[in-house]
């Protein structure tokens, strides 16, 4: 007698077998993400062993939905390899291979010493898949096509590393969440003597605003601040680009999992050193952005969730915690290099140096950018 349970279990068994073969077909030469492939081999072997151990349960009608749920755990583990890792590791382009080396050494310099290997996937958007079943050592970094031609986006890579840092240290989430709680507690206490109906309406407003700051949104704020910490002025410019590039309303609060762009720009602005904030390029671009963002005309929801005091506290706690938890992460406290320094000869450049120099040249000598970039790209470390 046929049953869906048996049918599904047999299909999963076949998928397991084919996935093993597909992984075995992946190239493992110098420059390929061999550590990741070995890690995936190991996990696949564990999943296969688990399947064999429970095969009779999966097919036993007495287990019913329970068996399908157990099979579902295996399917979701397999889909992680199949949809997330395999497309990234199977056919590495020369740019992906270059970026893999660039990001690996960058992660090391930024103090993300738990990362053992990285695979880069030109999927079209800048993003990270930071953990493989809670394992933080083998992230997949997604980039836009021709990422290395998009200088304004470079600091976004620091943001993506921030996701790994945020998952590595729960302290950041806890500290940011404490700030949210403290802020809205203070707001509730500050409600004056009003009618009960008005009081209830205000309490609901504050509760909704507090609930707005879920872990995804706090993670984004943290990652922006991490990028600001390591990217300095270059990141500030990149954040303005993030906000203005596609004409999206800066104070829009309705994006699931993301704070409004205006809040993201503002927390980075609060993290600038005085010297950075006062430099001409940043002042000019921020003034242009302020006009674009029109924060003064933001709606009541924005004003409730992105109160300046709260955003400043976000910045303060992250700047306070980062040197403690990530003592080897260098902070960019200076200005963009002067044009002479930016165009100075070099044997090789790190990703951080290319980010700073590239941004400076694009601003001051856009006519020179193309020839400089061709050399820099060939010598990127």
């Amino acid at each position: 007698m046929s049953s869906y349970q048996q049918l599904k279990a047999d299909e999963v068994k076949f998928v397991l077998l084919r996935l093993g073969e597909r992984l075995a077909d992946c190239p493992r030469n110098e420059g390929d993400p061999v550590t990741i492939l070995e890690c995936l081999d190991e996990h696949l072997a564990e999943i296969a062993a688990d399947y064999i151990k429970k095969e009779q349960i999966f097919k036993d009608p007495a287990f019913g939905l329970d068996a399908l749920n157990r099979l579902g755990v295996i399917i979701s583990s397999l889909s992680l390899i199949e949809y997330e890792y395999l497309p990234a590791v199977a056919h590495q382009t020369p740019e992906e291979t270059t970026l893999r080396g660039v990001f690996l050494t960058c992660a090391e310099r930024l103090g993300l010493d738990w990362i053992e290997d990285i695979v880069v996937h030109s999927s079209g958007e800048l993003a990270i898949f930071p953990d493989f079943l809670t394992l933080l050592s083998i992230p997949v970094i997604h980039v836009q096509a021709n990422f290395l031609d998009k200088c304004l986006t470079f600091p976004g890579a620091f943001h993506e590393f921030g996701h790994s840092v945020f998952l590595r240290f729960a302290d950041f989430y806890e500290a940011l969440n404490r700030e949210v709680e403290a802020h809205y507690d203070a707001m509730r206490k500050a409600i004056g003597p009003v009618q009960p109906e008005e009081r209830n309406a205000q309490l609901k407003r504050f509760q909704d605003a507090q609930d707005y700051w879920d872990d995804s949104r706090l993670a984004e704020i943290f990652c922006d601040l991490f990028a600001q910490y390591v990217g300095g002025c270059a990141n500030m410019i990149s954040m303005i680009d993030l906000s203005m590039a596609q004409g999206q309303p800066a104070c829009y609060t309705g994006i699931p999992g993301y704070p409004p762009d205006a809040a993201r720009v503002k927390v980075c602005e609060y993290a600038l050193t005085q010297e950075q904030a006062e430099c001409e390029v940043i002042r000019d671009l921020m003034a242009e952005w302020e006009k674009y963002a029109e924060i003064e005309n933001a709606g009541p929801v924005y004003r409730d969730v992105c109160h300046e005091k709260l955003l400043r506290r976000f910045t303060a706690v992250v700047l306070e915690l980062l040197p403690t938890l990530m003592p080897n992460t260098p902070r960019s406290v200076g200005l963009l290099p002067e044009i002479g320094a930016a165009t100075a000869p070099f044997d090789s450049l790190t990703f951080e140096e290319i980010t700073q120099r590239g941004m400076a040249i694009l601003i001051s000598r856009p006519d020179f950018f193309d020839s400089w970039w061709r050399e820099a790209r060939a010598k990127i470390a």
């Binding site: 009779q56 349960i57 036993d60 007495a62 287990f63 019913g64 939905l65 329970d66 399908l68 749920n69 579902g72 755990v73 399917i75 979701s76 889909s79 992680l80 949809y83 997330e84 958007e125 800048l126 993003a127 990270i128 898949f129 930071p130 953990d131 079943l133 997604h142 976004g156 943001h159 993506e160 996701h163 993670a219 990652c223 993030l242």
Partner: protein
């Protein structure tokens, strides 16, 4: 009552089953008030509420059923296959959500 055939297949002890029963009881007793509209619930409970709100059975009835199952487990009464499937169904909702979460890509 313990289904010894299943316990042997899963290679779990009677002691483990007792501990797990308590986990299930706690889970059901916290879920039932949410389904019955008596509590707001956490994200997981809200997700189950949304999935069960499909017109097949009033949510309050589902809540009452889960309370009945929790009471049965507390009283060491064996659950029926239908009851176990009902619990497995909501566990499946959560598992699907976990699968989505572990595959979540963080864009900038």
């Amino acid at each position: 009552m313990i289904d010894f055939r299943k316990a042997v297949a899963l290679n779990i002890t009677a002691e483990t089953i007792e501990k797990s029963k308590k986990t299930v009881v706690d889970f059901l007793e916290a879920l039932a008030p949410v389904l019955m509209g008596e509590a707001g619930g956490n994200d997981e409970q809200k997700l189950i509420l949304q999935r069960l709100d499909n017109g097949k059975q009033p949510l309050s009835d589902s809540g009452a059923d889960f309370l009945g199952m929790a009471a049965a487990l507390r009283g060491n009464v064996t659950l029926t296959t239908e009851q176990i499937d009902k619990i497995s169904e909501v566990v499946g909702y959560l598992q699907g959500e976990v699968a989505e979460e572990v595959r979540r890509l963080r864009s900038r």
